[in-house]
């Protein structure tokens, strides 16, 4: 073994559960430092768990999902189908997609990037990991990762919006409103749309500063 290559099993990776407990990420890309495009694995420990959350890739990314083991039920647009191990599923940009585990211990690899663009690591990956660390009680690591991610992605609305959610969950309302205000400055229409429906921020809605911000 040397620093030019690395051998590992997907099961060696950390298992990072989302705040709401619906998703489990195995963070392959950031663990090995892969840079050409996005690649991660999602685990459905039990049948019925989500392995791919319901979403569209709004920024033009195309994705390929590979069922490594178990069995998944995929929905792409209007089409729903069974996906045994070895199934490759291609989701063009903009296609609504989701998948749930049909068997326990289902593992799906997700690969994605935007055609014609040099790929850069996305902040969502680090925020996902930070929230999972927080949920697991690793708050100091989570906070450090949030700060580092904000520094590496300056000028975005997603950074301070996620930081606001983090601080709200941690109970630091002053910090949460500072970050939420910054996100609002950068993208008022988007923040006005998403903030009221975000469960992480629900507790803040009774604070007078919420009314000041959103009216």
């Amino acid at each position: 073994m040397n620093d030019g290559y690395r051998v590992l099993a997907l099961d060696d990776l950390e298992r990072l559960t989302s705040t709401d407990g619906t998703l489990t990420l195995l963070p392959l890309r950031r663990t090995i430092g892969f840079r050409p495009f996005g690649v991660n694995a999602w685990l459905g420990a039990h049948a019925g768990d989500h392995v791919i959350e319901r979403h569209r890739e709004q920024d033009g990314d195309e994705e390929l999902y590979v069922v490594v083991r178990g069995r998944a039920t995929f929905t792409l647009g209007d089409e729903t189908f069974d996906a045994p191990p070895g199934t490759l599923v291609h989701a063009p940009p903009g296609t609504l997609r989701e998948a749930t585990a049909a068997d326990d211990d289902t593992l799906v690899l997700a690969i994605g990037a935007k055609p014609g663009k040099a790929w850069e690591p996305s902040a969502w990956e680090d925020f996902y990991v930070a929230f999972a660390y927080r949920a697991a009680g690793r708050v100091d690591e989570a906070r450090a990762l949030v700060a580092d991610t904000l520094a590496r992605h300056p000028g975005t609305w997603q950074g301070p919006f996620n930081a606001a959610c983090f601080e709200a969950l941690e109970g630091d309302d002053d910090a949460a409103f500072a970050q939420l205000g910054l996100a609002y400055e950068r993208a008022p229409t988007i923040i006005s749309k998403y903030a009221p429906g975000d469960g992480d921020l629900a507790r803040l809605q009774s604070d007078p500063r919420w009314q000041e911000l959103f009216g």
């Binding site: 690649v39 996906a83 690899l109 055609p115």
Partner: protein, 207 residues
């Protein structure tokens, strides 16, 4: 088609004795390199090679069966769900299957650069047509790839090979000259390449 099983992909047995199952071409993926490999007659499942020329980082993930990977001279036996990430393009890597049903998923791309399909894909895809003497089909596949990569010397050289064997000597000569103009090393290859016997005596043949 939005989905396919690895066993439903096209199977192209290559001269080195492994089987290429094209994934990127199947879906028309433009953002990253992805393909599947299976053992062919030789038992090899990943050809021994480096990525020095393309500068790609690669991940090989075993989806089924077992394979013995050799990376930078070190052996690693991998089973389902196990992978090797080759960060340094210059490292030589390859694998032989340890069971007939082995399937390996290969991912690759160059950090910091927008992905572009590699010229070798069109050349691999044209292998069955060339093997069967369907020169017009083989030539068309190269021409389609050249539309996207007009400055690819390997594609031009391989196209010239197909044209030479397919009875199009003037086109072959023109494309060989263009390949050599881009990189003189192709003249050295052409000097020993039997594909060019039909045009070797033509005026303007590189040498």
């Amino acid at each position: 088609m939005t989905h396919v099983h690895v066993d439903e992909l096209d199977r192209i047995e290559l001269d080195d004795g492994f089987e290429w199952r094209p994934v990127r071409r199947r879906f028309g993926i433009r953002a990253f390199g992805v393909n599947v490999y299976a053992p062919g007659a030789s038992g090899r499942v990943v050809e021994e090679h480096s990525e020095s020329q393309l500068g790609h980082q690669e991940i090989y993930l075993v989806l089924r069966g077992r394979a013995l990977f050799t990376v930078d001279g070190n052996d690693h036996e991998l089973g389902p769900g196990e992978l090797v990430f080759v960060r340094h393009p210059s490292l030589r890597r390859g694998a032989v299957a340890l069971s007939d049903d082995t399937i390996v998923l290969a991912l690759g791309g160059k950090p910091g650069v927008a992905y572009a399909p590699s010229a070798w894909e069109a050349m691999f895809a044209a292998v069955p047509a060339a093997r069967e003497g369907r020169w017009a089909d083989a030539i068309r596949m190269h021409e389609e790839a050249l539309v996207e990569q007009p400055g690819s010397a390997p594609l031009l050289y391989n196209l010239a090979c197909m044209e030479s064997r397919g009875g199009r000597p003037l086109d072959a000569l023109l494309h060989l000259q263009r390949a050599v103009a881009l990189d003189p090393k192709w003249a050295e290859y052409a000097a020993k390449d039997t594909d060019f016997e039909p045009i070797r005596a033509e005026p303007g043949f590189p040498g």
